[in-house]
């Protein structure tokens, strides 16, 4: 039976493609190291999607390769198989049913993860972050202090209160996996919980003018003592 050979070919080749993808991304991880609580949810969602998609990619490519190998005309006189309406109906229904289920499943999973990423509106520390062409400004309302960089205390939940003085900017720290635009005329809250002490970069990721490339700032995630000391010693 020819169809059995086809199934075997597709399964084996798809497994090989999938294994290749797996080896590649084991050697070169797709995402940089995570450094916030929210990043865990984002990474979980991405890894789930990535492997489902890897499987779909491998199966479709394996099927196309099988057809390319098996169904070539040896002469221009040859014609393809005739149309069999009864069997194709089944394929059509199965295909649409399966893709609908998969899509709704992904949508449900995405909604769930989105809820987890957003989390509660409660925060331990407020930071006002204001963007302007082409720099960032950080203000700690409780301490009534400006920071020369964005100091965040490890393990604490921060409310980033985002505003913009001129055009749209965007707050992004790749290790935190969170991005939020700063929009003129709006005050937008972004909640995040850094989990790893270290130095990071805040980079504007919404094109904001000719100097957009340079609109970066340092982020320091520090422990409680350093946080207090740094902000007190400024100015």
């Amino acid at each position: 039976m020819k169809n059995k050979a086809a199934v075997a070919f597709v399964v084996v080749v798809a497994a090989l493609i999938f294994a290749g993808l797996w080896a590649l991304f084991a050697a070169y991880p797709m995402l940089p190291a995570a450094a916030s609580k929210e990043a865990e949810f984002v990474d979980g969602a991405f890894n789930g999607l990535f492997w489902i998609e890897g499987a779909i990619y491998a199966l479709v490519m394996a099927f196309m390769l099988y057809c390319l190998v098996q169904f070539r005309a040896s002469s221009r006189a040859e014609q393809g198989a005739k149309f069999d309406r009864s069997r194709s109906r089944l394929v059509e229904v199965a295909w649409i049913g399966l893709s609908t289920m998969l899509t709704l499943g992904l949508a449900a999973l995405g909604s769930h993860e989105l809820h987890a990423v957003i989390g509660s509106p409660e925060a331990d520390i407020d930071v006002e972050v204001r963007g302007q062409q082409f720099s960032w400004e950080f203000y700690y309302p409780k301490l009534q202090q400006y920071g020369d960089k964005l100091y965040l205390e490890v393990g604490k939940r921060h409310r980033i209160i985002l505003t913009s003085k001129d055009v749209v900017h965007s707050f992004w720290v790749p290790e935190f996996r969170l991005k939020q635009d700063a929009v003129p005329g709006k005050v937008i809250h972004l909640l995040l919980t850094p989990t790893k002490v270290g130095d990071y970069m805040l980079i504007c990721s919404e094109l904001c003018g000719f100097g957009h490339t340079d609109m970066t700032a340092s982020v320091a995630v520090v422990d409680h003592e350093t946080f207090e000391k740094n902000l007190k010693s400024e100015f």
């Binding site: 797709m30 940089p32 393809g80 709006k186």
Partner: protein
């Protein structure tokens, strides 16, 4: 030459009027008035005025003979199709050179060749230029040539309007090309307010005028296709016998008609904010910044389906012919195009997951966007089902089709992490997005265009392309394209933002690799143009039906004469009954 003289004199009129009126009023207001006047002047000079007068007198639409007609206001749909194809290829070259300039700058960290201002301007023009190419190459170029033939019509429903939609494009392109000398562009092709309402440079204003002009061209073209296919199909061509390529063009045309006016309105409001100092987008005076983004993406997301639907149509047209069997699930494929059109208008805010819009809006837009993968999956079902038990002829159109499917598979799948709101928080505005849409727009729409071009070139020119060169072109472009863009996914995930001219030094090896690969893509385009030039001169004569297809365009002579068919064709069977009757 009439074309060059008209364009130059209109440009001079524009410059003089802007300068003259600028002494009386704000120079931006002067430029808007001067542009409207010089655009009308250009359309009149090129022959639009005479065509209008001829219409009023009840004469036949204007058409000419010889090579000169390709640069004149000619209403024959085949001339318009060739004009669109030529224009798309010219803009493709210009915007492609800009891509190479960007890749040269990005080969190493730091700034080598360009200033930040120049980089932003080149990046914006590359984006806008390629958006125009992707919008017009198949729908405007191949669509205008093929659709009336495919449905057995003598011409389009509104031949003069067809010429008008093409002739609105050269002024738009000229405006875009003038912007680097008038202050440059800092805002990317999306021209987000308030970056686009601030900064009183003429360049930004001209960009907006060019966008609106191209938009009107697109609206006219959409109306024309819908009217043509609704009312001018051959006897016997019920909707179940309409070729799938025509279905795709009608679907894209619905979006052109319904979406483009919205983006035109949003840009006109930007011009009002700039020139009349209104405050549609100025929050200090009660305007809304997010309003612009909603209106912009209401069109500009569906616009990607204007690009990709004709490519889907073209490859599904090609597959049965080269597989020698009927198109699998043909009614479902046509239905999936319409489903994509319907869904395309309720997904736009997935571009705005990080914009600060109401949080709960993310949910419906995420779910709607993911629903589009169902009809897109049906397109793949039709393609893969047609491959099954085929007798494939691996001529160049078929190979381009397979390459397009392989690319678009990556493009489609990498769209899911962007449609998924939680993961998009990380990927939004990174090179992951850049790589994703290049896989759909270049890997999908442009590869689809080349598939269509190789398929219909014999009909358009009467000659065949050289198969060896066509395969060399494909091989180089496929390898080069994948080598440029696959690493970009990875860089984007690791912190490479969109639209920046510099990056951390550790990215150097990957960036240099992508830059080197971009030269392979450039080489493939050189091979393509050599092939076209050589084949036009001494290609093998094609005959009426070189691919043994069954749609009506192959019953006309190659190239078809004015009026297309000797007698009105009638349709008696399904277009894809290939291999069945034989």
């Amino acid at each position: 030459m009439k074309f060059a003289a008209s364009l130059v004199s209109a440009a001079l009129l524009f410059a003089a009027a802007t300068f003259g009126l600028g002494r009386l009023m704000d120079v931006q207001a002067a430029a808007v008035l001067a542009y409207l006047a010089s655009l009308l002047f250009f359309l009149h000079r090129i022959g639009g005025g005479a065509a209008l007068a001829g219409w009023a007198r009840g004469e036949e639409p204007p058409t000419g003979h010889g090579a000169g007609r390709f640069l004149s206001f000619d209403s024959d749909h085949k001339v318009v199709g060739v004009q669109y194809t030529g224009a798309a290829l010219v803009v493709f070259i210009v915007a492609g050179i800009m891509a190479l300039i960007m890749r040269a700058e990005l080969a190493h960290h730091g700034l080598q060749l360009l200033t930040q201002q120049q980089y932003n301007t080149v990046m914006t023009l590359h984006g806008m230029g390629m958006v125009v190419v992707a919008l017009i190459a198949i729908a405007g170029g191949i669509g205008n040539f093929v659709v009336p033939l495919q449905i057995g019509a003598r011409d389009m429903a509104f031949p003069r309007m067809n010429a008008l939609s093409f002739w609105l494009l050269p002024p738009a392109v000229l405006l875009l090309l003038s912007t680097p000398f008038l202050g440059g562009l800092d805002f990317g092709w999306t021209a987000y307010a308030p970056l686009s309402t601030k900064g009183a440079t003429l360049g930004k204003l001209l960009f907006l005028l060019a966008f609106i002009t191209a938009g009107f061209s697109s609206i006219f073209s959409g109306v024309n296709f819908i009217a043509t296919v609704l009312s001018m199909r051959a006897r016997g061509m019920g909707w179940r016998r309409v070729p799938i390529f025509t279905w795709s063009i009608v679907s894209a045309s619905i979006i052109q008609l319904m979406g483009t006016s919205v983006v035109a309105a949003s840009l006109i409001m930007v011009i009002f904010d700039r020139v009349l100092h209104t405050s549609f987008y100025n929050p200090e005076l009660g305007g809304s910044v997010l309003l612009y983004q909603h209106l912009f993406w209401y069109y500009s997301h569906p616009a990607v389906y204007i690009m990709i639907l004709p490519a889907f149509g073209a490859i599904l047209e090609i597959l049965p012919v080269f597989c020698r069997k009927p198109l699998f699930a043909y009614p479902l494929a046509a239905g999936s195009f319409l489903a994509i059109v319907a869904l395309s208008f309720i997904v736009w805010a997935h571009h705005m997951f990080t914009s600060g819009m109401w949080m709960l809006l993310k949910l419906p837009f995420m779910i709607n966007t993911e629903l589009i993968s169902i009809p897109t999956g049906v397109v793949f079902l039709a393609a893969l089902g047609t491959l099954w038990k085929a007798r494939m002829r691996l001529d160049s159109p078929m190979l381009w089709t397979l390459a397009m499917l392989a690319n678009f598979l990556i493009g489609g799948l990498t769209g899911i992490p962007l449609a998924d709101a939680p993961t998009d928080l990380h990927f939004q505005d990174t090179w992951f997005v850049v790589a994703h849409f290049h896989f759909t727009v270049m890997g999908g729409a442009i590869f689809g265009f080349f598939a269509a071009f190789h398929y219909w070139f014999p009909k358009m020119s009467g000659r065949r392309l050289d198969e060896t060169l066509a395969k060399l072109h494909l091989g180089l472009m496929f390898a080069g394209f994948n080598a440029v863009f696959i690493p970009l996914f990875w860089l984007g995930a690791h912190g490479m933002r969109r639209r920046v001219s510099d990056f951390p030094a550790w990215m150097d090896p990957v960036q240099a690799f992508a830059s080197a690969a971009s030269l392979v893509v450039a080489a493939s385009v050189v091979v393509f143009f050599y092939n076209v030039w050589r084949s036009l001169k001494r290609g093998e004569p094609a005959g009426d039906n070189p691919w043994e297809a069954r749609t009506l365009e192959w019953t006309a002579p190659s190239p078809p004469p004015h009026g297309n068919f000797r007698s009105a064709p009638a349709v008696t069977e399904h277009p894809y009954h290939l291999g069945v009757a034989a």
